[in-house]
């Protein structure tokens, strides 16, 4: 079978699988978050927490829950890394340094999973499974909870109540993330992903050299790392490592896991607001952008116009033979357009223009389809902007889902949109101006600049992948990128929940002939245009200095 046909079949199979699954999964999640019943294990958890799962919260209380839980999470994970040498299964590794431990703790709590550390050489099994992987679950559940709170803001009228944070957190973890992770972790082991608590094993090869083979509970972490759009790997090589992803089937399963919740959440949204067609426009906008990215990167990688790639005869630098260019491109776009940031090949060695598409995917705000939860609330914020722009065009007061979008709502959406560009561009400019950026580069010229831009784009949008040539384990980068991850995650959440609170208080605006039809293809087009134009205008200058300059030079 020729290469292009195989690529087309692979992408088609993935799309078919997502289309088949999004309905039952989306409906299931809507039922989970709307349910009034509690599982026995959940009752036990609520008792341990000391929380009443049926107590409704206003947006401020909900936000306090989110922030308190995340703050405690950062603290706990920081301490765990700092004392890892005293813990079992530490594999003899030293404690992580304060700046790197801060960076990593924030990174995992913020659902970013930027890896300033090298997994196989720094983190013991206990920190991996009992610290990092726990945040893989709960940071994802927090994202989903905030998205659901926003959806309730749209779905409810004349109330300030948005649900109960503790109930949403626990249900997301226990009823959604955990069962799917268990299933896929076992499938991954069956394919060859390792799952043990062994020490490093010494073997002597046939040529008489020694090799140290590493162990670890990898499959259990791989499953949730992708399902929760986290991305932080067991290894420095992440999912390029054959112990993480042993063949092209496991590779495809990981891509499916990355995309399945983000592409199903619009269905959940549609169900909860009582009109599934409203979910269709959202998912259509996400899908169109994602597919455009996949096509662009796949084509460029196969053409491989870079000077070194031309000489080598293909774009295989940083890529695994079992995946090749097609499966690597599909993974790369899926991981950067969600907030995952896992990798199966090194983005730094992708073609110049491909790298530009990957950065663009992140600076869109991680909405195509975005992270679990954050993708949906990000796209809904952009929908608010799109409705507002449409309203200006026809001179009517903007309304969305029976809610008036007044000055307060638009201000909150605008603030939301402004946070990450300020962090990305401000951070990049600061790193470049004071010399720390240049010092950390592996590459020269425009591509070196791209490494810095990529880092701040990735951290601020909570992606976590990297142009990994950047030597980011310095106090400067650990600190500034840590702050970007923190602010890039939680400031937007403040605006989302504030918006949810103000929407929920409104009364229903009757649908009239003048109401914008937000469940029709035209609006999906409007949404795509707003998303691309907002990010495009903001980031075009920065992109032209880096990936565009590099790509056009070859």
């Amino acid at each position: 079978m020729n290469e292009s046909l195989a690529d087309i079949l692979a992408v088609s199979a993935l799309i078919v699988a997502l289309v088949l699954v999004h309905r039952p999964l989306g409906d299931y999640m809507a039922a989970v978050y709307s349910s009034t019943r509690h599982l026995r294990v959940e009752r036990w958890i609520y008792r341990s927490i000391g929380a009443d799962p049926d107590a409704e919260m206003r947006w401020t209380a909900y936000l306090r829950g989110v922030l308190a839980f995340s703050f405690v999470g950062v603290l706990f994970l920081y301490l765990l890394q700092r004392v890892q040498n005293h813990l079992p299964w530490s594999l003899g590794f030293d404690p992580i340094t304060p700046d790197q431990a801060f960076n990593t703790a924030v990174s995992f709590v913020a659902n970013t999973n930027w890896q300033s550390y090298s997994g196989e050489a720094a983190m013991g099994h206990l920190v991996q499974a009992g610290g990092l992987a726990v945040q893989n679950f709960v940071s994802a559940a927090v994202g989903m909870a905030v998205a659901v709170a926003l959806v309730r803001g749209f779905a409810r009228f004349r109330t300030g109540e948005l649900g109960n944070f503790w109930a949403d957190l626990v249900r997301g973890t226990i009823r959604v993330l955990l069962p799917i992770s268990v299933l896929f972790a076992i499938v991954l082991v069956a394919l060859g992903t390792i799952q043990n608590f062994s020490d490093i094993q010494q073997v002597q090869t046939l040529t008489g050299t020694d090799q140290s083979v590493t162990g670890g509970p990898v499959a259990s972490q791989e499953a949730i790392k992708h399902l929760g759009t986290n991305g932080g790997g067991f290894y420095n090589a992440n999912s390029a490592h054959p112990f993480s992803s042993p063949d092209a089937i496991s590779n495809m399963l990981l891509i499916f896991l990355i995309l399945v919740i983000p592409f199903s959440m619009p269905r959940t949204f549609g169900r909860m607001v009582g009109n599934v067609k409203q979910g269709w426009t959202i998912v259509a906008a996400m899908g169109v952008i994602w597919l455009a990215g996949v096509i662009a990167v796949t084509v460029v990688e196969h053409q491989a116009p870079g000077t070194a790639s031309q000489l080598a005869g293909g774009s295989m630098e940083g890529k695994e033979q079992r995946f090749g260019e097609g499966a690597s491109s599909l993974f790369a776009v899926s991981t950067t357009m969600t907030s995952t940031g896992a990798i199966n090949s090194f983005h730094d060695s992708f073609q110049g223009l491909s790298g530009g598409v990957l950065i663009f995917g992140m600076v869109l705000g991680e909405v195509a389809p975005g992270g679990v939860g954050s993708g949906l609330y990000g796209m809904l914020m952009l929908a608010v902007i799109a409705v507002f722009i449409s309203g200006l065009m026809v001179g009517r007061t903007p309304e969305y889902l029976g809610k008036k979008l007044g000055a307060r709502e638009i201000k909150l959406a605008a603030l939301y949109i402004l946070v990450t560009p300020a962090l990305v561009l401000g951070g990049t400019a600061y790193a470049m101006a004071n010399g720390d950026g240049e010092e950390a580069m592996t590459n020269v010229g425009a591509h070196g600049f791209s490494e810095v831009l990529y880092a701040y784009a990735s951290a601020s949008n909570n992606n976590g992948s990297a142009f990994a040539g950047l030597g980011a384990n310095t106090e400067f980068f650990n600190t500034t990128l840590g702050l970007c991850m923190l602010l890039g995650r939680f400031l937007p959440m403040v605006f989302v929940l504030a918006l949810a609170g103000s929407l929920a208080e409104q009364r229903r605006v009757p649908v009239t002939a003048g109401t914008l039809r937000t469940h029709q293809p035209l609006f999906a087009g409007m949404l795509v245009a707003s998303t691309v134009v907002v990010a495009g205008l903001t980031f075009f200058p920065a992109l032209s200095l880096g990936p565009l300059a590099e790509g056009l030079a070859t």
Partner: protein, 202 residues
């Protein structure tokens, strides 16, 4: 919103308890259950797909190795793997991170092409991309069928085998795309070299 310390303290206490309980569920019970199932049902794979020869473990099917002679140069008797950024050290996975047009990478690729072509006695334009580029993991266990093919003559000669025999061996070890359409065709270097060893020992 209120930042009254008492109002903030209550959720913090709940948060700490929530974190501990969820750590128990997702950080202790979950990995323990998966490990239990994995070890019971797929112990070979769960422990790294280790490969045995002469009654001892000689590596993992999934982790590439170097095939050098005592001086650390590529040994002509073995099929050679892809270039590795870390010399196939599983303790330092990752790649060289150079961009597709980077001048240093251009030099590295050019040098690798010359080396591979000379070593195998083929023309430079016969050298496939995977033979001159570092993988992502630095422990890629596979090479392309093309790279295996250009090594057959050299390997056959060094082992006193006929080129046809060795070419047949390569043919037998080509793994197609998974399910026919996923990923790339490939050859597992360790598996191929083990089979070669058996053939050479007659």
């Amino acid at each position: 919103m209120s930042f009254n310390p008492r109002v903030m303290a209550r959720p913090l206490w709940a948060a700490l308890r929530a974190l501990l309980v969820l750590t128990l569920v997702t950080g202790v019970i979950y990995p323990a259950v998966i490990t239990g199932v994995a070890q019971a049902a797929f112990s070979g794979k769960a422990n790294g797909s280790m490969v045995e020869a002469d009654g001892r473990e000689v590596g993992s099917e999934l982790i590439g190795q170097t095939w050098n002679d005592a001086d650390g140069d590529p040994d002509p008797r073995w099929f050679q793997p892809r270039p590795s950024h870390s010399g196939y050290d599983p303790g330092a996975t990752g790649s060289g991170q150079l961009g597709a047009s980077d001048p240093t990478l251009v030099e590295t690729v050019a040098e690798a092409r010359r080396q591979v072509a000379t070593f195998n006695g083929v023309r430079e334009d016969e050298v496939p991309p995977d033979a001159v580029t570092g993988s992502g993991s630095a422990v890629d266990p596979h090479i392309s069928p093309e790279y295996a093919a250009i090594q057959t003559h050299r390997v056959a000669e060094a082992n006193d085998l006929s080129a046809d025999e060795v070419a047949g061996l390569v043919e037998d070890h080509i793994e197609g795309r998974d399910l026919g359409f996923l990923g790339n065709e490939r050859v597992n270097v360790l598996a191929l070299n083990l089979a070669l060893r058996e053939l050479a020992q007659g």
